[in-house]
């Protein structure tokens, strides 16, 4: 009986160890979201990722979630950690939203931002997800970028956390402004030239 108990205990420990090993390498979408949080992403970006992954959770495999987590950590170690350390923050999950904004807007250069965008776009390519990141057409976009992920033909534009909810959401027609200004300048110059010629004669 004692021996049986010992065998059962040994078997149980093997099973537990085995399942721990599996869970260490088989991540879930929730873990990917947590990784984004730990990487110092802004709260609304974490929520955007969560919303996207929750609905598409079965599209990705555990190995792909692992890859996502690794990439997030890599980006964080390279771009967020040094900036946070300079601010005296060692635990990235304790970064305030204001500090995150400061890192993104003031610390990173345009090249840094492009490198991060490229890394995420390339990560998407590996999973057959077309990620497009373009400079925001409207200055109302909080992030400054328009982001969209297309998965199985379904487009998922990531909307800014606060939208323009007035009805006038189109930008001012710059063509008309430039056209009107050019017309004034040219016509004004024409009047001056004609007046000068008139005076000479």
């Amino acid at each position: 009986m004692k021996l049986f108990k010992k065998i059962t205990a040994a078997a149980a420990s093997v099973v537990i160890a085995g399942s721990m090993a599996i869970s260490a390498s088989a991540a879930t979408w929730q873990e990917a979201v947590q990784a984004a949080k730990d990487a110092g992403c802004q709260d609304h970006n974490v929520q955007q990722l969560s919303t996207f992954l929750e609905a598409n959770s079965t599209y990705f495999t555990a190995a792909q979630y692992d890859k996502m987590i690794a990439k997030l950590k890599e980006i964080s170690d390279k771009f967020v950690k040094p900036a946070a350390n300079d601010m005296g923050v060692t635990d990235l999950s304790t970064l305030t939203e204001a500090q995150k904004v400061e890192i993104g807007k003031k610390v990173w250069s345009d090249e840094n931002r492009q490198e991060i965008i490229d890394a995420l776009v390339n990560l998407g390519k590996e999973f057959n997800v077309t990620v497009t990141v373009t400079k925001a057409a409207s200055n109302a976009n909080y992030a400054g970028y328009d982001v969209s992920a297309t998965i199985n033909g379904a487009e998922n534009p990531v909307n800014p956390p606060i939208e323009q909810t007035g009805t006038e959401s189109e930008p001012v027609n710059t063509v008309a402004v430039v056209g009107a200004s050019a017309a004034i300048l040219l016509a004004g110059a024409g009047i001056v030239v004609v007046a000068k010629k008139n005076k000479e004669n």
Partner: protein, 250 residues
Amino acid sequence: MSDRASAKSGHKSRHRKHSESNKVLRTITFVLTPFLVFIVVCGVFVLGLFKPYSMAKPYLETVFNPDTVKNKDDYQVSIYHPDNMPLRVKEIEDESTNEKHTIIYPYYGDYYGTLTISSVGIKDTPIYCGTSNDLLAKGIGWSNSSVYIGRVGNVVLAGHRNTYFAMLFQCKQGDIVTVDTDYCTITYIVRETAIFNKNDLKYVNPTFGKEDKLTMYTCWGRNRLGATDQRFAVICDVVERKWKDVKIPE
């Protein structure tokens, strides 16, 4: 004598030519100048009208573009995905009760549900998945920077102040708000209203399960339509969450 005569006639012909060119120039001036002045005036007029036009545009659209206020019950084929997309149905655990329920995840651009705030006259107003301009023209938009309706967290809805959220300003503490989807019906009670800057994410940020609420917002602009820097928000607490038996089609 003949020299003097020829010089005189040369001078006369030069004078005639000169006065002829003057005449042409004067004619051109008379014809051209009014046009040039007209162009200047028109240019100034166009530039001067930009601001009043941008302010008047929402009113003009409301009056002359019925598309922005109709089709309350439209189920249109989405421009964001092909028609034959599979239904995204999943069993989830309700974090507030630990019970298992079925949720249907909408695709971007899909009709998502309806919003009712009877006290201010908002009744069965359609909610769409996403907050792009085309969706806000058809109804209220659910922000994909927030949790899915039914999940514990901050559900954020946005709408235009001249159409679907025109009456939102009349919401007051204690009003009952109902959000109905294909998989659940949630009843909220208005806790507070607030005015905040468009760059202040305090009210729309996720709560990560710490707070269970609904935030609805629209533009706030001192009695005028159009894009503004301020937003008016109505924040509500959950009263009841009723899950439906979802029948999954074969």
